[in-house]
């Protein structure tokens, strides 16, 4: 595979060496996927895996204006990773990652019109991470029930408090059981 040609075709992509993947701006995701799918050299006809990832905001050290390291808040974002393989040319993978702007209103384009295999996986990511895929034909919750409101796979999700009886609690489970007990007492009082 001649990835240089691929890189030259789409200068808006960014190569991430640590994860060997291309970071793609979400405006051009469909364009790039269509190229990968139809180009006679790549022939990436199988979109194998679509995975959501949640990156919380974190502190990072950067060099400030005066040359001294400054700690800066790196805003969190949600990310979708696509793994493309080629069935007809038996090659791959090509990994694309697409990031949302922030975690508050995450919207990404849906790749389902090009690859049917993304249909349920995008629904799952919508269900568990809350990323809205514009252009998806049938975007509903898939694993949780329809009335559910949270996005449980996000890193800041707080699971419901249903600890009634825990015979062998320790560590964080013990802490949650205690919290449950305090809550009960508060409610009773």
């Amino acid at each position: 595979m001649n990835t240089e040609r691929f890189a030259a075709q789409f200068p808006q992509m960014q190569w991430d060496a640590a994860t060997s993947s291309w970071i793609v701006p979400h405006q051009s995701l469909l364009e790039i996927a269509l190229f990968l799918k139809t180009d006679p050299e790549f022939r990436m006809d199988l979109l194998s895996n679509v995975a959501g990832v949640d990156w919380l905001s974190s502190k990072e050290k950067v060099r400030g204006e005066d040359g001294k390291p400054v700690e800066r808040e790196r805003p969190g974002y949600l990310e979708v990773v696509y793994h493309f393989y080629s069935v007809s040319a038996k090659q791959g993978p090509i990994v694309l990652r697409c990031r949302t702007d922030g975690r508050a209103t995450p919207i990404l384009p849906s790749i389902t019109p090009l690859y049917r295999s993304a249909e349920f996986q995008e629904r799952e990511i919508y269900d568990l991470y809350g990323i809205v895929f514009s252009g998806h034909p049938d975007l509903r919750r898939i694993l949780m029930w329809d009335e559910f409101e949270d996005f449980p796979m996000r890193k800041d999700y707080v699971s419901p408090d249903d600890y009634e009886w825990e015979p062998t609690p320790h560590d964080d489970v013990l802490e949650r059981a205690r919290q449950h007990r305090r809550e009960e007492e508060r409610r009773r009082a």
Binding site: W145, E149, S159, W165, P167
Partner: protein, 205 residues
Amino acid sequence: MDDWLKSELQRAGVFVTTLEWVYNQSRRSSVWPLQFGLACCAIEMIATAAARYDLARFGAEVFRPTPRQADLMIVAGTVTKKMAPQVVRIYNQMPEPKYVIAMGACAISGGPFKQGYNVLKGIDRFIPVDVHIPGCPPRPEALLNALMFLQRKIDRQTLGAAQPLRWYDPMDRAEFPVPACGAHDLVPTHTRAIWKPEASPRPLT
């Protein structure tokens, strides 16, 4: 009638028995389970019904697809919160007398998945369970064992007025409220009438 008189009569060729014994004997020998599997344990349940372990030796091989014809519900596998209302609904549809075996760690307490957000921490929060059989999954022999335990339990049932059985009480419909799927969790998270946890062996405060 005591045992001595019974054996004396038997010697004379007169066999006596109690109505209770006949009742219990016929009930215990035809416990028809519901054909109802949830997860991994269901496969072991099928293996128990298959030729090598042969549930038919205990009169329980007739897996009924409809709850209306079943006596026994083997809750075989993880009950998720999305599935819990359905399980309660199926249980409500079963006619009395009905029994429940909680098979495997997940059905008893949520098991290995109990820390998950979508896993019910034990089916006994919503329906009464007669036999718990731990294991992940229990071996088919263990399920047979649970069935024998249940049969012994049926043997001890009495028709007399001293301890009336639940299903002879006209006021007790044995129908339990079906939980609703709420915004964050099931509503309610358990049925107060059934779920009576013991005190935790360890102080939490």
